[in-house]
Structures are given as structure tokens and as C-alpha cells.
Symmetry: C2
Subunit: 341 residues, 2 copies
């Protein structure tokens, strides 16, 4: 049903009906109630496309999805959804063809120009991320999930990866570990750099020299967790502890350790980063996994919230949130055993 038609049924002008439904103050409370009731009863709702054309708002927040099919992604979106469900805002998932840089920038440019979204959430930024520069230049509201060192004003929410990993590493050192391996995410993203930095800071503040032989980067898969852990453990001077980038990585590490006949928490300690997934919990692993923990879902919820604030006029400069990360100690960490000489 169209506005005109509906307005006629209610016995009012389209103008008044439109205002009544949008909650403008110039319409009396009685009329508003009457209109609202009639809309509900007759099932009238404005054509979104007309509204969007007229108002220039798209009613959607864009999220660019890479090809990798990250398992974090669904959880983050579920969090966003939690916040947006009450709002009249959807999540628009934009597929990214190739992780090719040129194409990616083109994608963002077109996305902005197409006006399909009111705001964009940028994931896994790099220290000098051109997407941020571009979006700023194009005047598109956006929020960065993660951090960038780029000199362009932007809103962001990040977890304190550096502090988290520093603390995790320090804890391992306090337990007596000296050879601590680090399985990080893909190089380039700020979060990976921060984690690396936290790792190195912890080592160096205890006078331990980082060993390139114990540091690896790659996707968060169980397979890489296994391969890296296995190759580290087979070195002449193997690590006695691991810092792993994700739950999947941790699964791989567990397997590698076991496959060599060693025991997690006794022969080898493991701390991983846990984004809190309902389907795979650190607490239920055997032995239970010590983890740096921060809810990806909560981040999604908050990011959606912040984007809405951004859209209602709050300055990006005011929106900077750094979330602390918990360190939960469980059974996968234990004192270093005196190495056999």
C-alpha cells in the first residue's frame, strides 16, 4: 500500500501521515496514535527505497568480507546484529573479489559512491591503512575495528593486544620458561604487530633475546598451528611454551605437542588468544586452555553501537576505545621443567 492510499484511508494528508510515523513534533499526540494504529492494522510501511532516495540514508552498515571466510566474522556480525535488531539498520556484507590491493581500494570507492551504506566497518587495519585514508577523503563515516597509526582522524575500537600478549608472555617467563614460541597472525595487520611487540617487550624486559626461529606468522588455522608447533618442537633447542594467536591455532599446537608424546601444561605450556566462541571453548579443552580472552561478539555489539553514534553526529575523534584483555589461567600453563642438559 502506498502512502497516498493509506493517508486517504486514515483521512489525513500524506504529509501529516509521514510526519506522524516519523515522530515529528508538529503532529498532535492523538493523531499520531491514530495513524500508528491504522498503520499497524492495515499493514502500511513506507517503501524503503523511496525513503532512502529522499533522505539520502541507506539504512545499512557495510562490512567487507574477505575470501578467507574467517570464523571470527560470523561472531562479530552476530554481535552487531544484537545491537542493530532494534534499529532500522541492516548489515550489508560486501564480498571482496581478490585481496589484490588495487581492487580492494576500487571496491571501497565504489561502495561509497553507490551510497548503499551509511557507514563502513573496517577490519584488521594496517598501521598505514589506505582504506582509512580513502574513506576519510571520501567523507564516508567509518569505524575501524582494530587500530591504525595512520595520521587521519578516525573512530576505532580495539582490544589491547600488546598488553595482553605481553602479560601472557611475562606470565610464562615468571613460570620459568625461557624458550617461548610465538604463532602470530598474518603479518601486516596492526594487531599482529602489536602482539609481536607485546611478546618482544616481555622477553626483553626479562633479558631474553627473541629468537626468530621461534616466531611464525600465518592464518589462524589448526593446520598451521600444528605445523609450526611441530617444527618448533623438533628444533635442537625447542620451546617449552607457546603463545598462540587463536583457538584454532591452539588446537593445532595441542595436537603437535601430543603427537610428540609430550604433555600440555607439564612439558609444554600454551596460552592462546580466545575470542570466545560458543562452539569451541577454552575451558573445555583437555587440558583446559589458558587464554587471553576478549569477546568478539561483544566487540561487534559495541562497534554497531559506536557506528550508530557516529551516524547521529558524534565526532570520530571522540570515539576511541581500547578494551583490556583478560588473562585466564587454566591447566595448559605450568612451571617450566628443568631442561635435561
Amino acid at each position: 500500500m502506498k502512502l497516498k492510499e493509506f493517508a486517504k484511508k486514515v483521512g489525513l494528508s500524506p504529509t501529516t501521515v509521514s510526519r506522524a510515523l516519523s515522530g515529528y513534533p508538529e503532529v498532535s499526540e492523538t493523531t499520531r496514535a491514530r495513524v500508528a494504529e491504522a498503520a499497524m492494522r492495515l499493514g502500511y510501511s513506507p517503501n524503503v527505497n523511496a525513503v532512502r532516495l529522499k533522505t539520502g540514508r541507506a539504512g545499512a552498515i557495510g562490512v567487507v568480507m574477505g575470501r578467507a571466510g574467517e570464523f571470527h566474522f560470523a561472531e562479530f556480525m552476530a554481535g552487531m546484529a544484537e545491537r542493530l535488531v532494534a534499529e532500522e539498520t541492516d548489515i550489508l556484507v560486501i564480498p571482496m573479489a581478490d585481496p589484490n590491493h588495487e581492487d580492494e581500494m576500487q571496491l571501497y570507492r565504489r561502495l561509497v559512491e553507490s551510497r548503499r551504506v551509511d557507514a563502513i566497518i573496517v577490519h584488521s587495519p594496517k598501521p598505514n591503512d589506505e582504506r582509512i585514508a580513502l574513506l576519510h577523503e571520501l567523507g564516508m563515516p567509518f569505524l575501524v575495528h582494530g587500530r591504525s597509526a595512520i595520521d587521519v582522524p578516525h573512530a576505532w575500537l580495539d582490544i589491547d593486544n600488546e598488553a595482553a600478549i605481553k602479560r601472557a608472555t611475562s606470565h610464562l617467563i615468571d613460570l620459568g620458561h625461557r624458550r617461548i614460541a610465538m604463532i602470530n597472525g598474518r603479518p601486516g595487520a596492526t594487531y599482529a604487530l602489536h602482539r609481536d611487540s607485546g611478546y618482544r617487550m616481555a622477553l626483553q624486559s626479562h633479558g631474553i633475546e627473541p629468537d626468530a626461529q621461534l616466531i611464525a606468522n600465518g592464518n589462524f588455522t589448526d593446520e598451521l598451528g600444528f605445523r609450526f608447533a611441530r617444527s618448533f618442537l623438533e628444533q635442537p633447542n625447542p620451546p617449552t611454551a607457546f603463545v598462540a594467536g587463536s583457538m584454532m591455532t591452539a588446537l593445532g599446537v595441542y595436537r603437535a605437542v601430543r603427537s610428540l608424546g609430550m604433555q600440555i601444561g607439564r612439558d609444554v605450556s600454551v596460552i592462546a588468544h580466545d575470542d570466545v566462541f560458543p562452539y569451541l571453548t577454552a575451558d573445555n579443552m583437555v587440558p583446559s586452555l589458558s587464554a587471553t580472552r576478549s569477546s568478539m561478539r561483544a566487540a561487534g555489539t559495541r562497534c554497531a553501537d559506536l557506528v550508530l553514534q557516529l551516524l547521529s553526529g558524534r565526532s570520530p575523534l571522540e570515539i576511541h576505545e581500547l578494551w583490556p584483555v583478560e588473562l585466564i589461567l587454566r591447566e595448559s600453563t605450568g612451571p617450566a621443567r628443568p631442561s635435561s642438559p
Copy 2:
């Protein structure tokens, strides 16, 4: 830049420009090329909201996301994205507030009325799924990922869960197993019923009576996999094999088996369903996991494809795809050991 403005720069009428860009045949090849070039050079692209209002197309396919934050979801969407990236079609993720039935139907109704999507993909249908009836009634194009027995014409794509599980179960029986546990998904969805049916068919055709004590339903989480497997194994007459609903469930089962000092593939056999995730592969588990396998990503790609066909006029009645499921045998399955009497 607006069409009018752009048309002026090119020295043509808005009409012709619009036609040139949309590929209508009435415009000469030379002009089309000229317009296309100018559009690229000047960065003109039509305002989507205007186009949508005028054409009535939304340019998006809707996917309703439950609160559960399924890990399958991201993979399916990544698959869709693979197909849609070349198309001018986005994925609209609609958050679902409560899994409350009333609300869910209301959500679908509103989604249709809002005209934000051209088509909807319905996941995990039930045998008599009211969403299907509703969408059909409202005349919204939709595709069901999974199957429903409802007597309403609809397009669907499903994997052959029944045959897959029947085959997996039969294989276990052939290996000599008689006590085979089944950890299925949440009850209600057709896929769970089909799996249950496949399981029972296999048992019964070998003269084995299904034992309710060995059948469980629940979310696909490692925790439930562990809990169910553990409780089954602690029964007086424990199972010697498991059919598990997902990779996460399998992780839990593995843990449970190990925690009781038994060995997967020797003391207990396991077959799980593998949706093929890049971050957790059956092949890399230890021992490697025998699995019924079907790529969730490929399903997403194909579903997107079929939806596009649906939108370009193909009848839903013609669109019925039942995908066979592979059974990959690895190390987690082995002959039943003679039980100690």
C-alpha cells in the same frame, strides 16, 4: 554526480545515457562506448536508491541470521560472496531478535514488506516450515537451503543427509560395530530428521534395534560433543562407534574418548559430518577423521547462483538440487574390537 549533469557533459540526454549504461539495444555501439568511457573517467555511477525506487529491485539477497552465531554461516556467506561479487547484488544480513516463533514470522513479513531484498534464503527448514508458506503467500522469491516437506512450491538445494548418514552408519556396521551412538543437531530441522532417519535405516537393515540411550540432539559445539560422548561411554553398555553431526562435535568426541584412556580408531570409531572449513580440517586431526563431506562454501555459491536464476524468471519448481555427500575414510574408523564379555 547526477545523471543529468553527467549527460550534459557527455552531450547526450539522460535517457540515452541511462540506456547506454544499462546495455539497452536501442543505443548505438559507438555511443555506448563513449558513454561507458566517460562514466569511467568522470566517475559517474547511478544512485542506487533512485534505481531501486524506480525499478523496484533491491539489489540484495536476504539471509536471516539467528543468535546462535553458527560457524557454518560465515562459510556459506563466503560462498555466496564468491558468486555475487561479479553481480550487482549484495548480501543483506538480517538479525533475528528472538528465536520466538511469532517474532520470527513477523520478521520475515516485515522484511518482505520493506522491499529491502529481492529474494531470501531460508536456512535449516523444518518439515512443515511456516516461513516457506509465508514467503510463498507473500510472493517473495526464495530459496530453501535444506528441505521441507511442506506442500508449497519452492526452490531448494540440500545435501543428501539421509544417504550420507546411512552410508556412514552402514560402514560402521560393516566394520563390526553394533553399538553406534549418534550425536545429531538440534531437533526439529529437517536435516536432523534426515540424519536420524539415515541412521535408523542403516541399523534396521542390519537388524539392529536403535537404542534411545545412544542418541542425542543439540547444538554443534565441542562441549556437547564431549558431554554426550562421555556420558554414552560411561554407560554400562557403551558404544564402540560414533556418528557426529559436525567438526566441533567431533572435537568433543575425540576429547571424551581420550579422557577415558581409549584410542580413537581402535577402541572407538568416529565419523563426523564435515562442512569443509579452511581453519579446521578433518585430515589434520589426530588420528585423521573419517567424515561425510560436503562443502558449505560450494553450497553458498550455488545457492547464490540459483537465486539469481530465480530472479531472472526461472520457475522455483525447476530448482531442486540434492547433492550427494562423500564419505571419506581416514584413521578414525576401524574394525570393532571384540568386546570383553
